[in-house]
Amino acid sequence: ADPVSIVYIPKNTGNPYFDSIIKGFEDGCKTLGCDFTTVAPASAEATSQIPFVTAQIQRGVNVVAISPNSPDALNQVFDRARGKGTIILSVNSDMPGNEAHRDAAILPVDFTKTGPSQVELLGKQIGYEGEIAILSATTDAPDQNVWIAAMKETLEKDPKYAKMKLVTIAYGDDDPQKSTTETEALLANYPNLKGIISPTTVGVAAAAQVVETAKKADKVKVVGLGTPNQMRRFIENGTVEAFQLWSPYNQGLLAANFAVGVKNGSIKNEAGTVFEVPGLGKVTVEKDSVIKTQADLTTFDKSNIADFNF
């Protein structure tokens, strides 16, 4: 039989985060013997991925893995693809409320753990005391909102964090310029601010840059989710003590294994299925066909940053 063909469509081209996912796909397919290609639109706008999906259906690709730019704008084209037997995998983020339109979602970590883990990372640095703020991406980003809700809950419920006060949530739209001005406004509006949590790669880098520029690195701590290559400078010069992330690479690797397995019939796409991924160990398919690559976030700091390159 022909080898399984997989196409991965990231949010947009030129985004380094997705390059690691692509690397994972490539390595996975090398060992599995599947065909892998990747195509991407120029901008991460809601509709820009649609023509790419249609073209892949036409090409007769077996699996379309995609990091969707919109939770719902792609529903119809996905339905059509699946009608023609194409498997649709949502990678890195899911489509909340529209799970029925894709076959499975490959997510990086257990999202319920992200919020508390970030709060703890910051708390440790500021002595669990003082005003803190969150710099998010867009108000509409589903994963962001899940994490922010979890952060709020942790701050309220866990007595350990009782003296930490969340003063505001700002939205930088994953745009460096806007994230910068928003962070500057945070510093201006809250002179006593002790820390900023930015669970988005663009935001955390912008926040770090602002704090460095304002020479407030010792007063205001920045934590968040970032990629090592973007944050290396700030770790090395001490602006940022630590940040977290999962391994995007593993998502690609896992997605490739899962896709080939489902296509071959060796993996059943239903809750409770357990399968083995070389290098990752045993993975379980959860409710709604959600699959997570790892349980906990990796924390990056001076000690280990040199070991990563993505």
């Binding site: 120029a42 809601a46 023509p51 249609t54 090409r59 719902d72 704008a73 119809q76 108000t139 509409d140």
Partner: protein, 337 residues
């Protein structure tokens, strides 16, 4: 006045400067921008077929065309606006704002027909606003519509935030998957609109007057043509068409967001220019725009299905726009005496 020793000039006697001989008929027919567009269309189809074995499939091309057809429909009206000597760069933003208004009205509990009404009304008001700035305050349309393009999209953002609004009823959603034969409904709308607007421009007195206004606005005013009224009408038509296109996008996607159709102004201008409409007004045709829309579909779809990276696509589109205006300009300069 003294008498002069010369015989009075009689009509028959003097040297008469005759009209220049007209260009041969075949030149008039063959050397025109639409022919260039048609040639490009043929070339693009052949190249696309060569590039990817998956391309030559009418059903696929028609399906893919639905992603560009909304812009193409607005481009038809934009063609007329440009022939009249103006330009409208705000339709894509108008599409977004009217679609967001539709979504917001729907979310607020309005029945779909009412929400559609709201959206169409907003198209009318936006067109009216553009038109008023251009025809009453006499501001240049090119910069006015850059201003309103930012304003309208900004208002869409204020209205909808960055949330996408969805949950429209099933009958409203999926216009691009309703087929007549193998032809999706939006494509049918485009074809019908092309025929209607082509006839409007070609055989009605308004079409005639629009060409006259674009050729020389001052001469048109002197000939008693109601220039302002016609231009105002065109801007309103552009607004209305944009809101219809916005609704079509809402139906196709089943959701709306403020960034809907973002960057669409470039695509629309590209289509009109590729169709050989003269940027300075007075010349151009719906046929050209019709062909150019298909040219765009073929090129974009061909490159996408051949997995050609987006960078090459942007480069090709930019080059194509520049080359096409140079060609159009050259052809018109040639026939201009």
């Amino acid at each position: 006045m003294t008498s002069v020793d010369k015989t009075p000039a009689a009509p028959g006697r003097v040297i008469v400067r005759e009209a220049a001989a007209p260009r041969p008929r075949w030149q008039v027919w063959l050397i025109r921008p639409e022919v260039v567009t048609l040639l490009l269309l043929v070339v693009a189809s052949v190249v696309a077929t060569r590039l990817s074995p998956f391309f030559a499939d009418l059903g696929f091309i028609l399906e893919s065309s639905t992603y560009y057809i909304e812009f193409a429909i607005v481009a038809l009206v934009l063609t007329i606006v440009i022939i009249s000597g103006e330009i409208d760069l705000s339709p894509a933003a108008q599409m977004a704002l009217s679609a967001c208004l539709f979504g917001t009205a729907f979310k607020a509990g309005a029945p779909i027909p009412v929400a559609i009404g709201v959206s169409l009304l907003s198209g009318l008001v936006m067109g009216l606003f553009n038109g008023a700035l251009v025809t009453i305050l006499r501001l240049p349309s090119i910069i006015v519509t850059i201003g309103t393009l930012i304003l309208y999209r900004g208002l869409a953002q204020v209205l909808a935030g960055d949330k996408s609004i969805s949950g429209f009823p099933g009958w409203f959603v999926g216009i691009d998957y309703r087929m007549v034969g193998i032809v999706p409904v939006p494509v049918l709308i485009f074809i019908a609109a092309s025929i209607l607007l082509g006839l409007f421009l070609g055989i009605t007195i308004y079409g005639r007057q629009i060409y006259q206004i674009g050729t020389s606005e001052i001469a048109a005013i002197h000939a008693g043509i109601r220039v302002r009224r016609i231009k105002m009408g065109l801007f309103i038509a552009s607004g209305l068409t944009s809101s219809i296109a916005g609704l079509m996008v809402a139906s196709r996607l089943g959701s709306v967001r403020y960034d809907l159709a973002s960057g669409g102004e470039l695509t629309m201008v590209l289509i009109v220019m590729l169709g050989g409409t003269y940027i300075f007004g007075g010349r151009g045709s719906i046929l050209g725009t019709f062909l150019a829309a298909w040219l765009l579909v073929i090129i974009a779809t061909g490159m996408t299905v051949a997995n050609i990276a987006i960078n090459a696509q942007l480069t090709v589109m930019g080059l194509l726009l520049i080359v096409s205006i140079i060609a159009t300009n050259a052809i018109y300069a040639r026939s201009q005496r």
